[in-house]
Symmetry: C2
Subunit: 159 residues, 2 copies
DNA sequence: ACTAACATTGACGTGCGCGTCAATGTTGGT
DNA sequence: ACCAACATTGACGCGCACGTCAATGTTAGT
């Protein structure tokens, strides 16, 4: 559960999986499903995950565990991320300026939608939290009343 | 998505399912898995869900969709709820007082754990929210810079 | 050159959370 | 008495998100 910092080296699948606390199978599966773009390979064919790949794996975990989305949904959400790295890569190269701006606008929109979604969830969680907190209070009151009545049994009122 | 208010009548499975936006199959499945205690039946064997049953169904939906727990986990969490209604039912009847208090304490503990769990999730969500908000800001800056450079193209600096 | 540790693809298996028949019974109204 | 609408149990099916072999290849160290 110790949030590993972003590594600066490339990692093989074993290390990558351990770091994220996932199995190798899971990483290959995510690749199969298009959630991870195919990582670079060593000469022998071993996968090599870049620091960016590693970050993306973390993001997937986050979206899955935290927000409970399906992999298909997560794939949709990662479009914004893709555009982001795409822009970074294209930034220094020519590429039509207006086109880049358009991509940025799209990415902005998608991210805003994600934000709205998170806000929705947080509101609902907050109200659930309130409900539970009130419930605890009621238990407390009940237990206090109980303690009082017990007190009276052994040591009658001193008023 | 309109949060139906708590009904005061007993509902058959059809109405109950529609109300919660679930299928009949799902309700029977929840019963099968012990998430719902067997509802009362009509003479012919038709299920009749009490208002409490209906509330419980909503709670299950909440825990599932909002927090993304498995049905097994939710079953665990509902223990507190069970104790709660149990206490209510036993309250007027004799039943050893200390025993009731013990149950209340247990229910309190379970509820506190759920609260802690929710707080954990909310914290993580909050930090994810921050990350995304920052990202939007960076897009904005980028787009502003872009707009400025475009402005210069058509209308050179007036300084 | 050998070996242990690590990786590859392919294929089948699994648990969860239901969906979907099929065959049958119940309820309520005309 | 009949009929449509609604329900019942049982059983098989299915998509998702991987788990788990099996057979094979790669890498790194001695």
């Amino acid at each position: 559960m110790t949030d590993e910092p972003r590594p600066e080296r490339f990692l093989q699948i074993g290390e990558a999986a351990e770091r994220a606390n996932l199995t190798q199978r899971t990483l290959r599966y995510y690749e199969e499903k298009g959630l991870l773009n195919p990582p670079t390979r060593m000469d022998g064919g071993f996968r090599l995950y870049s620091p960016e790949d590693i970050e993306r794996i973390d993001r997937i975990k986050q979206l899955k565990e935290l927000l409970g989305f399906s992999l298909a949904e997560i794939k949709e959400m990662l479009v914004a991320e893709d555009v982001r790295t795409q822009i970074k890569a294209e930034w220094r190269r020519d590429a039509d300026a207006e086109e880049k701006a358009e991509k940025a606008r799209t990415a902005r929109e998608v991210t805003l939608q994600q934000l709205a979604l998170i806000d929705q969830k947080m509101e609902k969680m907050s109200s659930l939290r309130e409900e539970l907190a009130q419930r605890v209070q009621r238990y407390d009151e009940l237990l206090v009343r109980f303690a009082e009545s017990k007190e009276q049994e052994t040591a009658p009122s001193q008023s």
